[in-house]
């Protein structure tokens, strides 16, 4: 747990947020933590890993995905 100071927060939005937290029998800190986690999850949902623009790694690298241990740690 940590203590933070946040600038430039909308007073109205914070008042409503705090009131909702109280209605839900939560501390503002707990509600804010949940809101931050939800925000992160939403952002990650929008960025789809499968949309990554793949690049050609060149000849000889066609089986890199199968040879991770050999590449990093050598033959054992």
């Amino acid at each position: 747990m940590t203590t933070i100071t946040v600038r430039d927060v909308s007073a109205d939005a914070f008042r409503e947020f705090k009131a909702e937290a109280i209605r839900q029998k939560m501390t503002v800190g707990t509600a804010l933590t949940l809101a931050m986690e939800r925000f992160r999850a939403d952002v990650k949902k929008r960025v789809r890993l499968s949309d990554f623009p793949a690049t050609d790694w060149g000849k000889g690298n066609e089986r890199v995905s199968e040879n991770v241990d050999e590449i990093l740690y050598g033959d054992s």
């Binding site: 999850a41 990650k44 890993l49 499968s50 793949a54 060149g58 066609e62 199968e66 991770v68 990093l72």
Partner: protein, 130 residues
Amino acid sequence: MIVLDASVALGLANSTDVHHARAKTLLSELQSDGSRLLLTDYVFNEIIGVMLRKVGKKKAMAFGEYLLQSTFIAHTDGAMLKDAWSLFTKTTLGLSLVDCALVVTAKRAHAKGIATFDNEFKRAGIAVFA
């Protein structure tokens, strides 16, 4: 929740990898199902390490940034390392310590399974998506 192995991530990043098409389709299907993608810090390190060696820092950084934005990172703590080490020392399967940490993470997170092209995970009693 699905835990990603390095094989799938690297297959996705390299357009000429033998597993590229399958990696792209698999990840697309998993995300369409609403599954969250989880990456262990050890596997993230492996992916970046392989890319540094094979294609250099610029491409490694670009993919690393994308992974951080699109997946959840599971940080290995002392208890998880202990469990992973225990599995590593006992298993007769061809699993590295990183693989064992991945299995431990998947079990702790109650993940649906592991997305991997490494068949060894099937023998570890974990559901595999490939």
